[in-house]
Amino acid sequence: MGVAQRIVAALGSRVLTVYAAMALVYLLLPIFMVALFSFNDPVGRSNYSWSSFTFDNWLTLFRDPTLVKAVGTSLRIALVSTIIATTIGTLMAMALVRYRFRFRKAIDLFVFLPLATPEIVLGASLLTLFVTLQIPLGELTLILAHVMFNVSYVVVTMKARLSGFDMRLEEAAADLGATPWQTFWKVTFPLILPGIAASAVLAFGLSLDDFVITRFNAGQVQTFPVYIYLKVQKGIPPQVNAFATLFFVATVSLVAIGALLQRRRANLKP
């Protein structure tokens, strides 16, 4: 390589690093803003511009009963829909990865379709169905909706995790006299547990944060995002930022602990 080329290459790699760093700043800056403004003491109602630092918003986290109720509703819906979606999504992924059967490709595409449908269409079409069938809108319709969009995410995540699964481990268990039931709980399940956990965290986060589909099918129920939306005009109380920051820190810690546990397990292997 000539000197000129080497200089260009070195410069290029430096530029790339700077560019990548800037892209990360772009991704993370709004999160930082959300957290920062949980420590703001806004003049007036809107919490858009910085005035002074305070811990008050964190100390008065539970001040607005409507907000607390909305957070509770969101957590409840997220928990129930995550459990259902993770279970039926994992079963589907197992069928799609491990077996060859007719219509497998068609089913694969069908499961992917909700991910390729804009949220507004998902939300609007569910609303037309519920209105036609005269099903009252509320927490139940929200759980039905959240499970629907989460199933596809779980299937896609689990398929990626399952495709690297060593089937010989199950065969070995069977050869050693284990029943299929024992094999599943003692061999298969522990091995796919990290994948299940990752899917569950994803589903929980998506449900907690969903606004568009929720907006269409919530009726009078207020979830955390719906509460935020309804407050945009009047000014969002800074406690909302504190809650959002709390959720972020909790999720990040969960994911970090999960990653550490997995690494420790990997290190234990000979």
Partner: protein, 289 residues
């Protein structure tokens, strides 16, 4: 597992039934219902009547809201391009240069998903505000006019959309770059290819599936979005999503709203099917996440 093998068709069926039933009831059925509703006439208050003659809902809706459709496609396109310009170098850096920091960087890419979507979008109001860290210094230096603003313009809407969906661009591109066999690049170097030549002839072509999947996964939610146009735009930046949500939730003109959403859906399905034909559905779904 002996039982699993002796009844090959039964087991996968049992595993699939709960999920298929759920998606059938709450994805497929609603979309069919919405299609049927687009042939209704009337409103929620007056009651609905079905007639095939109501197909005129389609030309009427398209005629009235053509502007918003066109704007959605334009904004979606611009946001996808912006995403690509930011995502490709970052994905490249993570795949080839990040070394041990790779998993941490990948986590940072999806980190935005763990904070409220609405609050992050509102965060851009602060960042792009008239006296903000972006505009403030530029105005102070006299580089731009004091009255210049980004907020409430098409620019802020496109920037907001790009920001919200960029992880969907980064991840598939990263996956396709990471899969590239490094020996190909070494071979190119041994054969005296310049680093630009190796990039152009090996890295770029092999990352095309990721770029395609990423653009699709960014473009689809982008054209259906209405939050960014509402929170970061002005009445003149309304997209088709804004119209649909208003027709459903405020005006309650279900037939028009259903026709509008169904047209959006058809537009997207056509795109996905075409892409599926080009690359095979397996490719599409496996690269999605």
């Amino acid at each position: 597992m002996r039982i699993f093998r002796s009844r090959p068709a039964l087991v996968p069926t049992l595993l699939l039934v709960p999920g298929l039933a759920w998606l059938g009831s709450f994805y497929l059925a609603p979309n069919l219902q919405m299609f049927a509703s687009s042939f209704w006439s009337g409103t929620l208050e007056s009651g609905f009547a079905f007639s095939l003659a109501n197909w005129v809902n389609y030309p009427n809706a398209l005629g009235t809201y053509q502007e918003q459709y066109v704007r959605s496609i334009q904004y979606g396109f611009a946001a996808t391009l912006l995403c690509f310009a930011i995502a490709f170098p970052l994905a490249y850096y993570i795949a080839f240069k990040a070394g041990r920091a790779r998993s941490v960087l990948l986590f940072l890419v999806v980190a935005p998903f763990f904070t409220s979507y609405l609050l992050r979008t509102i965060g851009w109001r602060t960042i792009l505000g008239d006296e903000s860290i972006v505009l403030g210094p530029l105005k102070f230096l006299g580089l731009i006019d004091d009255g210049a603003r980004i907020l409430d313009t098409p620019f802020s809407v496109v920037a907001g959309i790009a920001y919200n969906f960029i992880p969907f661009m980064i991840l598939p591109i990263y996956v396709s770059l990471e899969k590239i066999d490094r020996r190909l690049l070494e071979a190119a170097q041994d054969l005296y290819a310049s680093s630009w030549g190796a990039f152009r002839r090996i890295t770029l072509p092999l990352s095309v599936p990721g770029i395609f999947a990423g653009s699709l996964l960014t473009f689809i939610p982008a054209i259906g979005d209405f939050i960014n146009a509402e929170l970061l735009g002005n009445p003149g930046t309304a997209m088709i999503g804004n119209v649909i949500q208003r027709q459903f939730l405020v005006v309650r003109d279900y037939p028009t709203a259903a026709a509008l959403s169904f047209m959006l859906m058809v537009l997207i399905l056509a795109g996905v099917t075409l892409y599926g034909r080009l690359l095979g559905t397996e490719e599409l779904t496996s690269k999605a996440i």
